[in-house]
C-alpha cells in the first residue's frame, strides 16, 4: 500500500454509533499537495469521516493509511490487528492537523501560546525556538500584532486563524478542516477563506468539509459529495459544480448556489 505520492488513504470506512450507521464504507485517497473539498447535506457523515481520518473517533471498520503507514492499529505476530499504543498513536496524530468548526482554542493561552503549545510540549523544541516558529506562522495568517492577546479578545475570524496557525505549527502532512467558517459571522468568513486559499497554493495537503461553494471552486482540486454515509459523486470543481451527475448533488447545489 506504499505510494510515495499519497498523503492519506482510507478504505472501507464504516462508523456505527450503537444502532446508527453514519458511514457505510467510504474510501478515498488524497495526494500530497492536493486540496479536496467534501460537500453534502448535514448528517451525511462529513464530519464523522474527518474524525475517523485522525482517529479522534476510530472507525468501526476499515483502514486508514497515513503516507503508507496504517493509522491507529498494528499487527500482532499472530496476524490480528490491535489498537496502537497511545505513544505511537499520538505521534501519528501530530502529523495530521485539524481545524474545528468551533475553533477550540485554549482560552488560558494567548494567541502565540496556542501556537507554541504543540511544538513545545509534543515536539519538544525549546520555548524560544517555539516562539520564533509561532511568530513566523502567525505572520503567515496575518496576526503578528495579536500574538500576546487572549482568545477572549479576538474576533471569531481571528480565533479561527489562530487555530489554523496552531495546526500549521506542527508541520503536519495534512490538515483536516471541519466546516471552518460555519460558526463565523458572514463578514468574517472571507479572512479565514483567504488564509486557507493561500495555504492551498503553498502545496499544503488539505481536506476541507465546507458549504462554501466559492472556496471549493477557487481552491479545490477535487470535490467529493457525500450523502447518507457514502461518497456519491466525485469530480473536479468545474465538473461537479457546473454539471453534477447525481440527482442528489443537483438538489444540494441548487440550494447552496441560490
Amino acid at each position: 500500500m506504499k505510494n510515495d505520492n499519497e498523503a492519506i488513504r482510507a478504505e472501507g470506512i464504516v462508523k456505527r454509533f450503537g444502532d446508527l450507521t453514519v458511514l457505510r464504507g467510504v474510501s478515498l485517497a488524497v495526494k500530497r499537495g492536493e486540496v479536496v473539498c467534501i460537500m453534502g447535506p448535514s448528517g451525511s457523515g462529513k464530519s464523522t469521516l474527518l474524525r475517523c481520518l485522525n482517529w479522534l473517533s476510530p472507525p468501526t471498520e476499515g483502514t486508514v493509511w497515513l503516507a503508507g503507514e496504517v493509522l491507529g492499529t498494528q499487527e500482532t505476530p499472530n496476524g490480528t490487528r490491535v489498537p496502537l499504543p497511545d505513544s505511537k498513536l499520538r505521534r501519528q496524530r501530530s502529523r495530521i492537523g485539524m481545524v474545528f468548526q468551533s475553533f477550540n482554542l485554549w482560552p488560558h493561552r494567548t494567541a502565540i501560546g496556542n501556537v507554541m503549545e504543540g511544538p513545545m510540549i509534543v515536539s519538544g523544541i525549546t520555548k524560544s525556538e517555539a516562539r520564533r516558529l509561532a511568530t513566523e506562522i502567525l505572520t503567515r495568517v496575518g496576526l503578528t500584532e495579536k500574538a500576546d492577546v487572549y482568545p477572549a479578545k479576538l474576533s471569531g475570524g481571528q480565533q479561527q486563524r489562530v487555530a489554523i496557525a496552531r495546526a500549521l505549527a506542527m508541520q503536519p502532512e495534512i490538515i483536516l478542516f471541519d466546516e471552518p467558517t460555519s460558526a463565523l459571522d458572514p463578514e468574517l468568513v472571507g479572512e479565514v477563506l483567504d488564509v486557507m486559499k493561500s495555504l492551498a497554493t503553498q502545496e499544503i495537503t488539505m481536506i476541507v468539509v465546507t458549504h462554501e461553494v466559492g472556496f471549493a471552486k477557487d481552491a479545490a482540486d477535487r470535490i467529493l459529495f457525500m450523502d447518507e454515509g457514502l461518497i456519491v459523486e466525485e469530480g473536479s470543481p468545474s465538473e461537479f459544480l457546473e454539471n453534477p451527475k447525481e440527482e442528489r448533488s443537483r438538489q444540494f447545489l441548487e440550494r447552496y448556489l441560490n
Partner: protein, 219 residues
Amino acid sequence: MELSIIFKYAPMLLQGLQLTIIISIGGIICSLALGSVLVALSRSGIRAVVILVRVYTEIILGIPVLVLLYLIYFVLPEVGIRFSEIPTGLLTLTLYYSPYMAEIIRGAINAIPTGQVEAARTVGMSNFQIAKRIMVPQALGLAIPPLTGICIGLVKDSALLSIISVHELAYQTKQAVARTFAPFELWAFVAFCYWAILSFWEVSMRKVEKRVTRYREIG
C-alpha cells in the same frame, strides 16, 4: 469588660489557634486529596467502584458532621478501631468534606469544553499533558470560589473537635472561660479571631482567582 484577661490568657489561646490552623490545613489537604481520588475513581469506568463512591457520597451527605465525629470517636472503638483525639478529628473532617471537594472538582473538570481536549489530542498531546496543561489551569479558576467556601466551612467545623477534647482554639477558650468566668471578653475575642482569619483568607482567594482567570477578560 476586662481586656487584661485576654492578654493574660493569650499564650493559651494562641496555642489553641496554632492547633486550629494545623488541623484546618491538614483537613483541607487530606480532604482535597481524598476528593481527587474520589473523582478519579468515579471516572474510572469500573461499575462497582463508581457505585461504591456514589454510596459513600450519599451516606456522608446525609449525616451531620457532629454525628460522624461521634461515630468515629465512640462507635468505632466498640469494633476495635480506636484513634486518639487529633487523628479522629482529622479523619472526621477528611471523610466529611472529601465528597464536597470531589463535587467541586468534578464540576470544574466537566465545565471544560470537550473540543479543547480534542484539539489537544489532534496536536498529539498525552492524557497527562492534557490534564496538566489544558484542564488543571482552567479548572483551578473555576474551582477556587466554591473551594474557598467549603474550606471556610471546614475551618469553622474544626471548633466541634473541642467536644472530644482536641486542644484547639474553641477548647482552649472554654478552658480559659472556666477559670476566669469572663465569657464575654474571651468568646468575643475568639469570634473576632475566627472572623479575621477567614475574611483575610476569603479576600486573598478572591485575588488569586482573579489572577488565574485573567484570560477571560474581554474588555
